[in-house]
């Protein structure tokens, strides 16, 4: 069965006609061609498909598209304003957190969901968030460094 489902993604209103049981990752990647959201596993264990839905970091590989009707979705393509990177993107790109880059979009969106809602998140909260993501390259320390750098920039930005 095909249904019409509408939602906002990266600020654009989109209407898709799909099986409502189709997973959001497939809609994002195969129908909307937003390939920044990655698939790294079969069962919601790697975290690389994470997007932000109504402000909350959510895995798109086990979210049926019917659940996002009317929602506001943000993917990694929606963070930068023109050439100006979001503080999380900037920090992650400079802290050594990027090697192969395949886990990066999911981690960036996870941190966006956390730090934009809770700029004063504790180190434990940050580590709980990052613990949902697999990275095979970095040993995680540079990702933590990037997260802390980003948190500081966001806190400073919010003060002004």
């Amino acid at each position: 069965m095909v249904e019409k489902i509408s939602f906002t993604i990266n600020g654009q209103l989109r209407v898709v006609e799909v099986d409502p049981e189709m997973m959001l990752i497939d809609v994002i990647r195969e129908i909307l061609n937003l390939t920044g959201t990655k698939r790294g596993c079969d069962n919601a264990t790697c975290g690389t498909c994470t997007v932000v839905i109504n402000g909350k970091a959510t895995k798109s590989c086990n979210t049926p598209v019917s659940k996002v009707a009317g929602a506001e979705i943000l993917t990694v393509e929606g963070l930068a304003r023109g050439k100006e990177l979001h503080p999380i993107q900037k920090s992650i790109s400079e802290s050594g957190a990027i090697q192969c880059g395949f886990c990066t979009p999911g981690i960036v969106m996870e941190l966006y969901g956390l730090l934009e809602n809770k700029p004063d998140a504790s180190e434990l909260e940050i580590s709980n968030s990052l613990n949902k993501h697999l990275c095979r390259c970095t040993g995680f320390e540079p990702i933590k460094d990037g997260a802390l750098m980003a948190q500081k920039i966001i806190q400073d930005r919010n003060k002004n």
Binding site: R29, E30, N33, L34, T35, G36, T37, K38, R39, G40, C41, D42, N43, T45, C46, T48, T75, V76, E77, L79, A80, L85, Q89, K90, I92, S93, E94, G96, I98, Q99, C100, G101, F102, C103, T104, P105, V108, S127, L130, N131, H133, L134, C135, R136, C137, T138, G139, F140, E141, P142, I143, K144
Partner: protein, 776 residues
């Protein structure tokens, strides 16, 4: 030595694309008319195929073609042509392609796949080399010995031994007559998966003009090109292979594997590009596995600790096809002496056919499996001799004037093993050791290591440099960027060699065999070393082109000129000069007449005098070794048996650090990967050859909270081959963690382990046994 651009942390040129989601990986590629393939895998790990019925599948929605391996006689491989793109009469492992559906969408292809009916006649299944080496074992390849293979390999016809490699140094095992003390052990580094977060995949397009175009998340485009050209009878120049961004490799995306299967499937639908990307499950079952290596090792020493002889049998469960495993076995065999000199060696490596997915490269390539045994045995030997293990190691380290197993003399320029060991020792072992408390046991363990430049004699890496009209530089190479950061390194080395800031040097993104200079494959931690040398050679040629043109402009001889990146000028009067950009497309004189060559150059570099093994299994690997030392500080929770790695220290003599931020990242990532192998990761098979944990729920990769605090240090004794003295580092950090952690476990609880992963259940059992013994 101080450099302008070397030794500084430049940011990666691909960082922004990756953080904005714009980097293009294999599955992100969309081509006009592209179709999608789904691949059927067998129900048995070893069976004859009696019949395949595809009639129902062909009627399913969206299906364009159903393909089977019936009558497929293609064999491929780089070392032994024993691989097949799809099973014909027989399946040999659980993930082998049996049939495929090509459809408009992946979903429709998968739905149709369920309708294919296959009848099998099961055969005995062998997971362990020891079982398939038994005399009464059924042959997994009746053709063993008949396949084309490299002349240096020795398949044992009529057995399941795909290759036998033997190395003899000095008196071989007779050398044990000089030994006062002997220790031995049987060590297992079990099957693992590289498990890059991006699963492997390919796109292949047979075009109407009889050319083939392919895309793959692979690190060896030129091998894919050569192999597809050979299989389909077209000139190599008519096969074009593209490599997009790669989401991690760690070994298993090397050699040619899934590309041949996707090509075989695509060859049935000419005119249409066909994409296949492994699910995570298929990434475990149907691409390459790692390790599967058992080391049966014996070491003999004098009473004073001087090592004299080693005898090792390497039993490598190589999987259903041995093409990708043979060189891993050979590397495990000749590198099993670790960083020590033995006068006498008798080392034998068996690559054995088994009914698992083919085993291939995994970061470390035989070194960690082999030196896991060596570094555990050194600790056990020290105990038997009643010696301090640091002292025992120190008196036996390979260093200037010592000779390794292959017969290569070590030089000062190979680096300083002792200095690495001392640094780690001071950092981790100079403190008081922690005593057992209510909840935890504490331990510290050490491992020294050696990494060889395992590759091939003909392995080379090319570099093309083009100077643009404004004097900026474009560089093209064939090195695959899998995350290791080689493009940053290219910018820095070229910047230093050309005296041009890295910001004015643009490095290639994708590899395209039509445009990229030849590279064998990006393996063996050799890109910085060989690729860097190629850059310096090409830079020198480019500077010579500029000087030759400038000599005409300035009416002098080339050797009177110097170059500083901005000008070519007269050495004795620098005011007589010409700006470099003016020489870039030749020099345009005042009347428009143009003289001199366009400023571009090409070069390549191999390791010096790398050779095939001789009749004793010895020979030169290009004298490019790296030494290092690692140590773990661990805590074992009494209640749960859980091991926590609190601190891990590494020091390598890398010759010259090129990018401090990147090299630190390489080491930390490698250490965590090997901690995964040591404590959590093992691909499990049931007795029927099915993989019981092909997903991240049960195949546990180390997470954020399991990552230890790390100290990463370097020593810089420049080498003679790599650029500015630099040596490789990519694989080295995975070599020491398993023995260091198992040595730490012994330190903590006095129990020796010979096999990984050491899980909480194993620790709990060991503690219970120990308690029982203490009470008895």
């Amino acid at each position: 030595m101080s450099y302008k651009y070397i030794g500084k942390s430049y940011n990666r040129p691909d960082a922004i694309n990756k953080v904005t989601g714009k980097a293009q990986y294999l599955d992100d590629i969309r081509l006009p008319g592209m179709l999608h393939a789904a691949i059927l895998h067998p129900e048995y790990a070893h069976a004859r195929i009696i019949s395949i019925d595809t009639s129902e599948a062909e009627k399913m929605p969206g299906v364009v073609k159903v393909v089977t391996g019936k009558g497929c006689k293609l064999h491929y491989g780089d070392n032994i042509k024993d691989l097949v793109p799809m099973a014909d009469e027989k399946v040999r492992y659980i993930g082998e392609p049996v049939a495929a559906v090509v459809a408009d969408t992946t979903f429709n292809a998968q739905k149709a796949l369920e309708k294919i009916k296959v009848v099998y006649e099961p055969l005995p299944v062998y997971i362990d080399a020891r079982d398939s080496m038994r005399e009464d074992a059924v042959l997994i390849h009746e053709e063993n010995g008949d396949y084309w293979h490299l002349p240096t390999l020795k398949p044992q016809s009529g057995t399941n031994v795909a290759n036998l490699y033997q190395l003899k140094k000095g008196q071989g095992k007779d050398g044990f007559s000089e030994a006062d003390v002997v220790v031995e052990g049987d060590f297992l580094y079990p099957f693992g998966s590289c498990a890059a977060i991006e699963p492997h995949g390919s796109i292949v397009w047979f075009k109407e003009d009889n050319t083939i175009e392919a895309w793959s998340s692979s690190i060896c485009p030129f091998i894919i090109r050569q192999d597809l050209a050979h299989s389909y009878g077209v000139p190599e120049s008519d096969v074009r292979v593209h490599i997009p961004d790669i989401g991690g490799c760690f070994g298993y995306k090397s050699d040619i594997t899934v590309e041949q299967t996707v090509a075989y499937i695509a060859s049935f639908v000419p005119g249409y590009p066909v994409k296949w990307v492994a699910s995570r499950k298929e990434d475990f079952t149907s691409t390459l596995l790692g390790h599967g290596i058992r080391m049966i090792m014996k070491i003999g020493a004098k009473k004073d600790g001087k090592l004299v002889a080693m005898e090792t049998k390497v039993l490598h469960s190589g999987g259903a096809y041995a093409d990708t495993a043979v060189n891993v076995t050979i590397a495990a065999t000749h590198n099993c002496t670790g960083p020590y000199e033995f006068d006498h060696c008798d080392l034998t490596g068996y690559t054995v056919y088994t009914n698992t997915p083919p085993v291939g490269a995994y970061r470390g390539y035989g070194h960690q499996e082999a030196q896991f045994a060596t570094e555990r045995l050194m600790e056990i030997l020290a105990r038997k001799l009643g010696m301090n293990s640091f002292e025992l190691r120190k008196m036996n380290y390979l260093c200037e004037g010592k000779v390794n197993s292959l017969g290569e003399m070590m030089w000062k320029t190979n680096g300083d093993m002792k200095a690495c060991a001392e640094k780690v020792q001071n950092l981790v072992f100079s403190k008081e050791s922690l005593h057992e408390d209510e909840n935890f046991y504490y331990g510290r363990g050490f491992a020294a290591l050696m990494k060889s430049p395992k590759g091939a004699p003909f392995s080379t890496k090319g570099c093309y440099i083009k100077m643009n009209i404004d004097g900026s530089i474009s560089i093209n190479m064939g090195g695959a960027e899998v995350g290791q950061g080689l493009r940053t390194i290219v910018q820095q080395i070229a910047g230093e060699a050309l005296h041009i800031p890295p910001e004015r040097i643009r490095v290639y993104n994708e590899i395209d065999t039509q445009y990229s200079p030849y590279e064998w494959q990006t393996i063996g931690s050799m890109f910085t070393t060989q690729g860097g040398r190629a850059i310096i050679r090409a830079a020198d040629k480019l500077i010579m082109v500029l000087k030759q043109t400038a000599a005409q402009v300035l009416k002098t001889d080339v050797d009177y000129l110097d170059y500083d990146g901005e000008y070519v000028f007269l050495k004795n009067d620098p005011s007589i000069r010409v700006a470099v950009p003016e020489l870039s497309r030749g020099y345009i004189t005042s009347d428009g007449i143009t003289i001199g060559e366009v400023a571009q150059s090409v070069s390549d570099a191999r390791l010096p005098r790398y050779s095939n093994p001789d009749q004793n299994g010895q020979g030169s690997l290009g004298v490019e070794y790296t030494f290092g030392a690692q140590a773990a500080e661990i805590r074992i929770e009494k209640k749960s048996g859980k091991i926590f790695v609190d601190h891990f220290a590494s020091t390598f003599d890398v010759g010259q650090v090129i990018n401090p931020l990147q090299i630190r990242g390489s080491v930390m990532g490698g250490v965590l990967m090997a901690i995964g192998a040591t404590l959590y990761e093992k691909v499990e098979f049931d007795q029927d050859g099915k993989i019981t944990n092909p997903h991240f729920f049960k195949y546990h990769l180390p997470t954020y909270k399991e990552a230890p605090q790390q100290t990463v240090d370097f020593i810089e004794n420049p080498g003679t081959v790599g650029p500015f003295g630099a040596r490789g580092i990519g694989e080295h950090p995975v070599i020491g963690p398993a023995p260091a952690i198992l040595n730490a476990i012994y330190d903590a609880i006095g129990v020796d382990f010979f096999e990984i992963p050491v899980t909480p259940e194993i620790i709990k059992k060991a503690l219970a046994n120990k308690q029982q013994k203490e009470y008895a």
